[in-house]
């Protein structure tokens, strides 16, 4: 039972990882999309620390600025989050195949944010074939936070974070596969996936740590 974890650096995804590990799933890699230019802090650092805590041996990081910019340039702004997530998941599905994993784990939580309404989750889901595991689906945020404290990831997760400056003020809270697919015709999805996979970097927290000690 192998899975890829979608790790944002926030509070939810590490807790989701922990719950699935507890059920016996092996997380073969954590996948982290980050901003080199559109954010202004190093979220990769955070993910390294989180993976060490969660004993995840591999992190795959993908810079995502250009891909996001392309979506903002071409697609209806209110669907930004949905289109972005569908792209992330497609990339994740590709990586899962390469890593021989059958599942994606996300920290999604029903109706926590606009992209996590039932309607939008369905639309996102329809972009991929792979099974999605959402252990936090019906948690209250306070429960998730309590659990994050328990497994000692809260302090790492709560660190500095920049809100997405590209997001619309009023994101769509419902969508349909048809509308979104139409929007996606305005961008070259296939090419964006390929480019993203090309610039993906693999890191191993342990090895990195050793390297730091050697210095």
């Amino acid at each position: 039972m192998k899975a890829i974890l979608l790790l944002s650096g926030g509070i939810d995804s590490p807790v989701a990882a922990h719950l699935m590990q507890r059920k016996g799933y092996t997380i073969v890699a954590a996948l982290h999309f980050y901003n080199k230019h559109l954010g202004n802090i190093n979220t990769v650092d955070k993910c390294e620390q989180l993976c060490k805590k969660l004993n995840i041996k591999k992190i795959i990081t993908i810079p995502f600025d250009e891909q996001q910019a392309e979506i903002v340039r071409k697609c209806a702004h209110k669907f930004y989050y949905i289109i972005q997530r569908r792209l992330m998941w497609r990339i994740a599905e590709n990586i899962a195949k390469k890593e021989n994993a059958q599942y994606l784990i996300t920290g999604e939580n029903l109706a926590q944010v606009a992209s996590q309404t039932l309607s939008n989750m369905q639309t996102t889901q329809s972009a991929v074939q792979i099974s999605i595991l959402r252990p936090l689906l019906c948690n209250d945020k306070v429960e998730t936070i309590a659990m994050a404290r328990e497994i000692d990831t809260y302090e790492i997760s709560k660190g500095p974070e920049v809100c997405c400056l590209l997001g619309p003020k009023h994101p769509a809270t419902s969508s349909s596969k048809e509308i979104i697919e139409k929007e996606e015709e305005k961008i070259d999805v296939k090419n964006l996936i390929e480019e993203s996979l090309k610039i993906a970097e693999k890191l191993s927290p342990q090895i990195l740590d050793d390297a730091k000690i050697l210095k």
């Binding site: 202004n40 903002v72 500095p160 920049v162 400056l165």
Partner: protein, 296 residues
């Protein structure tokens, strides 16, 4: 909240006139970390005491600015016992000037000085049960409102309720804090008479006094997310990103956000005027770059 307060500690406000309104204004502002310049060359007279509650009998015959400084222990306060005229006002260096005077001459001096130097100021007047507060942030000036009027109601001819001066001071401090934290201040004249408060729009008398500003007012502060510095314009604005893109080395371009690299700093430029500085620590450098980005 603590971030908000720490950004105030490098701001300064000058209060000109330390009578009923000025002394209460100073008292209210003394609980922030803003530096206060207390300006008045007058001494406390026994007749002041019934309506200027910051002073007491032991202060009689002492300079108002010094007596008041002693009472405001929590704040960084500087007494300036000078009479304000077009020369002496050049010594007043502050982010905002608050007019708590009782005469038109000084107000006109403040008006000219603030216009010339792009300083926001707030005019107050109180007499009887009537109070007036007008924030001036550049859209119009004192002469736009009053023309060349030289006389009006003064406390000398109408007296004043001490509650009137307290309320004027409260409103003035509200407006001053809005300006200093980069929020939009009230547009127009805030006027109350007893219980009734109105905000009157200002009908500009033909005024050539206000020079078009070519600089944008903004505040630079540490982000609440602790992730860098951000600059926010005092007024709502929409930036012309395609113009900005041409002027700077642009890394990423979208219809709503640009990322530019200039002076060794990466800056995220949002079309609604917010700038986010990455990994930068030199505030002066950030201020300068922000001004260049905002310049049209």
């Amino acid at each position: 909240m603590s971030n908000q307060i720490s950004t105030l500690s490098n701001k300064s406000i000058a209060i000109i006139g330390l009578g009923a309104v000025g002394s209460i204004t100073a008292k209210l502002l003394s609980h922030t970390e803003i530096k206060l310049l207390l300006i008045d060359h007058d001494i406390v007279q026994e007749s002041n005491l019934q309506r200027q509650p910051m002073y007491d009998k032991s202060d009689v015959n002492k300079l108002k600015c010094e007596a008041l400084c002693k009472k405001l222990k929590s704040a960084e306060v500087f007494p300036m016992p000078i009479h304000i005229d077009s020369e002496t006002i050049k010594k007043v260096h502050a982010d905002i000037i608050l007019d708590c005077t009782d005469n038109i001459e000084t107000r006109l001096v403040i008006n000219e000085y603030c216009k010339k130097n792009n300083i926001s100021w707030i005019h107050t007047a109180a007499a009887g049960s009537i109070g007036v507060v007008i924030p001036f942030t550049g859209d119009y000036c004192f002469r736009c409102v009053y023309g060349n009027a030289s006389k009006g109601l003064t406390c000398d001819n109408s007296g004043i309720l001490n509650t009137t001066s307290e309320r004027v001071a409260q409103i003035q401090v509200d407006e001053a804090l809005k300006i200093i934290t980069g929020k939009p201040s009230t547009k127009g004249m805030i006027r109350f008479n007893g219980d009734e408060t109105k905000i009157l729009t200002i009908k500009k008398k033909e005024c050539t006094h206000v020079q078009e500003k070519n600089t944008t007012q903004f505040t630079l502060s540490k982000c609440t997310t602790r992730a860098g510095y951000s600059a926010k314009p005092a007024k709502n604005m929409k930036l012309n990103l395609s113009q900005i893109k041409k002027k700077f080395n642009t890394l990423i371009e979208t219809p709503i956000v640009l990322v530019i690299n200039e002076d060794g700093m990466e800056v995220i430029v949002h079309e609604y005027g917010e700038l986010l500085f990455k990994d930068a620590t030199d505030e002066t450098k950030m201020q300068k770059l922000a001004q260049r980005i905002y310049a049209r």
